[in-house]
């Protein structure tokens, strides 16, 4: 059992270092921090709101992740398949599960680093006022869970193609559908012909409605189970797809 996790850790370590060996890490971190603080101050009107909370910061996260998570997840499998290193990887004495989980965890921890680096905004709001720090902590955890769901989806979809751009676009579009699932844009297409329980199920799959509740400081157990089951589902499908696509 110990060697099992050791191998996962080796894959994880290699992938995480891989991010920092290339300019990808610094560009991603720079873009994430610049966009998130830019949106907080200019679009979210952080100062004009005159309230000691980080709602102006967190409410942009679903939209930021919609673009940025596919950007760091698209290379996970598409690159391996394009360069042919997937054949070498599969012949190594590691199982597909260890590979998929290791690669996913590396990208998830990388987003954690990005979120931790956005700490100055938390210091700013504590310096300027007296915010509710429990709510901020819960929002960070919710944001990280949501990022994980996006990453698992991207990782799964990047197995389907050898082209990173296609992987990026497919995962952005499916991410958009999942964000907007609770809104009339998606629901109106279903509502006219489907029974009520289908409409309700689709609207309960919305990332945005789950995240907006977490961001208020109310942690729904449904949301936790939704995000975790989403991650597990996508990784499971990913493992199966690697099995089919490894020889293509």
């Amino acid at each position: 059992m110990n060697t099992y996790f050791n191998k996962t850790y080796i894959i994880f370590d290699r992938e995480l270092r891989g991010y920092f060996r290339t300019p990808l890490a610094s560009i991603f971190l720079l873009v994430f921090l610049a966009l998130s603080s830019g949106m907080t101050f200019f679009l979210g009107r952080f100062f004009e709101r005159d309230q000691a909370d980080l709602i102006a910061f967190f409410s942009w996260h679903p939209w930021l992740f919609l673009i940025l998570m596919p950007a760091i997840g698209m290379r996970l499998w598409a690159e391996e398949r394009r360069s042919g290193t997937i054949e070498l990887l599969i012949t190594l004495p590691v199982t597909n599960t260890q590979l998929v989980v290791g690669k996913f965890l590396a990208s998830w921890v990388f987003t954690l680093i990005a979120l931790v680096l956005s700490m100055p905004i938390w210091i700013t709001v504590n310096y300027l006022g007296d915010p509710d720090n429990n709510v901020i902590l819960i929002s960070y955890i919710g944001s990280w869970l949501m990022a994980g769901a996006f990453l698992a989806l991207t990782s799964c979809l990047s197995t389907l193609t050898k082209n990173q751009v296609i992987a990026f676009i497919i995962s952005s579009i499916s991410g958009f559908i999942l964000i907007m699932a609770g809104f009339s844009l998606i629901l109106s297409a279903v509502r006219s012909w489907a029974p009520v329980w289908i409409t309700e199920t689709i609207s309960s799959m919305s990332f945005l409605s789950h995240f907006s509740r977490i961001q208020m400081g109310v942690f729904d157990l449904n949301s936790l189970i939704f995000f975790l089951s989403m991650i597990i589902l996508c990784l499971w499908i990913n493992i199966q797809l690697v099995q089919i696509k490894k020889a293509d």
Partner: protein, 75 residues
């Protein structure tokens, strides 16, 4: 499990993906129905919970409090 051997491995994988999506939806629908509104309020001032005052007020109500209901004539 003999019949599983007759299916091609590729189709077996597709079947498992399909089934896992169905299981995902079932789990979420069941969880939504069982848990309902089980949420933890992390706000400092318990903004989204009923206060003790409200609870004791509701507990000390008489069995059948008088109710006054107003209707518009048009409705």
């Amino acid at each position: 499990m003999n019949f599983l051997n007759q299916i091609k491995p590729k189709n077996l994988v597709k079947l498992s993906i399909f089934l896992s999506i169905i299981i995902f939806f079932c789990v979420n629908i069941i969880i939504n129905n069982i848990l309902g509104y089980s949420r933890i309020d992390f706000t400092e001032n318990k903004l989204y919970s009923l206060s003790d005052g409200t609870k004791s007020l509701l507990e000390n109500l008489r069995a059948n409090p008088p109710q006054v209901i107003y209707f518009k004539q048009s409705s």
